[in-house]
């Protein structure tokens, strides 16, 4: 049995979680998931500004903090903290923790290969809309293939204490130690599916140990000291989800089921670079306090494609708010919204979308929200999105005047004009698997 813990569900997750995982009990592997879909374009921009950047900057200081404990307790780390510059990330780790052996997985970054792909007739059409990539070609800001567990396992085979990848899948981070330790092969798709689903359960950190849990949330103990998840993985593909003794939160069938359903598409066909996993085969059973046994998982072979995540500059957006108090808070906010729209129209400004929400009334659920005839206050939030930066900028000047020249009780504008932000959007596409060749380097 090996223990694989997840200490980071996204870049920005709790800084103390990975430290506590190595301090508060036994683990063999610590995996850290840093990359969301738009993160790649952020790090690409950072690298363009400074060639020594372009990775998750939280990661090297964390390793510096836990390096001594990692050595003492023989804990190894697998993380997709490399962004678009895994080697620079590894060098910074080596600078802060010279006693550790660090390996990187390269080959996922295809930003410089887009024209080569297009020239050879790979159209990289949008998986959701079927548009050809040529529509956005000049605006591309990053392009990465999602890589699976086998390249990460190859990096573990070098004996590295720390394995750093770029755009690996979230699930591959936890599957890789199982592939490495148990010798699972690419054709053992039931086992790979089991490890993939284990990875899915822990990939959002504490979201499987009581965080964001709707079931009986008021009875979940000690959120302040919530324990992050640990997989106790067996060579036969069964595993237990648990957390360290004495930590807060809860591991139960309810908390695990909620995370199993999180960001799930067709449950029969959960597609990764490693396999297709079938969530309708998962069996859960209780295995003592804060322990859930997961077994029975079946899968099918991986597809001949890898997914590519492409980001591109779509346009600009801005969002601003004004608060109105009771009485008639919602009516005041609606009147203010109508005035803003009339003025934008009079200015001849057009946008892809103007969207208005009423916080305190129905912003999250629309008509599904319970009726509240007299809310104490309502916050109007108006947003616009479009290709024309000047139009979006002009919009940002149209909200604050309402405090003086619109309905009564407008307040809460203390942050001043809203700022114009770039919209970097995400373009998913497929590419034949053989186009992506990864390799491992040990960084000295």
């Amino acid at each position: 049995m090996i223990r694989i813990a997840n200490g980071q569900g996204f870049w920005g997750d709790w800084l103390e979680a990975p430290v506590r995982l190595v301090e508060q009990g036994p683990i063999d592997y610590l995996v850290l998931d840093y990359l969301a879909e738009v993160t790649m374009s952020i790090v690409q921009k950072q690298k363009q500004a400074d060639p020594s950047l372009g990775y998750a900057r939280d990661f090297p200081p964390l390793i510096g903090r836990i390096a001594a404990r990692m050595k003492e307790r023989r804990v190894r780390v697998v993380a997709n903290a490399g962004g678009v510059n895994p080697v620079a990330c590894a060098r910074e780790v080596k600078r802060l923790a010279p006693e550790l052996k660090v390996a990187v997985v390269l080959g996922d970054d295809v930003y410089d290969r887009i024209d080569d792909f297009l020239g050879r007739g790979l159209d990289l059409k949008n998986l959701d809309t079927a548009e050809p990539l040529t529509v956005i070609r000049p605006h591309i800001t990053s392009a990465n293939a999602y890589i699976g567990a086998f390249p990460l396992a190859e990096a573990l085979a070098t004996g590295a204490d720390v394995v750093i990848a770029g755009r690996s899948t979230d699930t591959a981070l936890a599957l890789a130690p199982m592939v490495h330790e148990f010798g699972w092969r690419p054709d053992q798709f039931h086992l790979l599916a089991a490890g993939t689903i284990a990875g899915h359960i822990v990939e959002c950190g504490a979201q499987c140990t009581g965080g964001n849990c709707i079931a009986d949330w008021k009875t979940i103990p000690d959120f302040a000291n919530i324990g992050y998840p640990i997989i106790e993985a067996e060579p036969d593909g069964s595993f237990v989800i648990t957390k360290h003794h004495g930590t807060g939160g809860r591991v139960s069938q309810d908390t695990v089921k909620e995370q199993l359903l999180y960001e799930l598409g067709d449950p029969h066909n959960y597609i990764t670079p490693d396999c297709m996993a079938d969530f309708t085969t998962v069996r859960l059973s209780d295995d003592g306090p804060n322990r859930v046994l997961v077994s029975g998982i079946k899968g099918r072979p991986a597809t001949p494609f890898l997914k590519i995540s492409i980001s591109y500059l779509h346009g600009y957006k801005a969002q601003g708010t004004i608060v109105y108090s009771w009485p008639d808070a919602l009516e005041k906010a609606q009147a203010a919204d109508a005035i803003v729209r009339a003025r934008l129209n009079d200015l001849g400004l057009s946008f892809e979308e103007i969207y208005s929400e009423y916080f305190g009334a129905n912003a999250c659920h629309g008509i599904a929200a319970p009726a509240n005839p007299q809310p104490a206050e309502v916050m109007l939030r108006v947003g616009v999105r479009g290709k024309d930066k000047r139009a979006v900028d002009r919009f940002t000047r149209e909200l604050i005047p309402l405090v003086l020249n619109g309905p009564p009780t407008g307040t809460g504008y203390g942050d001043g004009r809203p700022s114009v932000r770039e919209v970097v959007a995400y373009w998913p596409a497929l590419i034949p698997r053989q186009e992506i060749q990864t390799h491992v380097e040990v960084v000295e």
Binding site: A215, D254, Y262, L264, I367, A368, V384, A425
Partner: protein, 108 residues
């Protein structure tokens, strides 16, 4: 009688681009057939009205006593394009659990 879905189920929701997935899970597996009968794709779409622009597709996970709904065009463009506060659909499961369903006393 009418009961809120939250009496027999919990859930979680999230995003994949402009699609929100809403997982609804029976607290007790004996209530799973009630979920299957009452919480149809059509009812989910009607419950959220204009919030879901596209269709709703339902998948069954009897092994977990759960249903998974894919709500297309539910996130105002999704990701960074969306102008909505809940651009990731994180609150939609709670919103669906507020829906009223029909149940006989014998079924509860």
């Amino acid at each position: 009688m009418k009961i809120p879905l939250s009496q027999i189920a919990h859930g979680r929701s999230g995003d994949k681009g402009d699609t929100s997935n809403i997982g609804i899970i029976a607290f007790n597996e004996k209530h799973y057939p009630l979920l299957v009968r009452e919480v149809t794709a059509e009812r989910v779409k009607a419950h959220f009205g204009a919030l879901i622009e596209g269709r709703v597709e339902r998948f069954e996970l009897p092994n977990l006593g759960a249903l998974n709904f894919l709500c297309y065009g539910a996130l105002g463009g999704g990701g960074t394009l969306s102008l909505r506060i809940d651009a990731q659909g994180k609150t939609l499961a709670a919103g669906l659990l507020g829906m009223e369903i029909d149940a006989d006393a014998a079924e509860l």
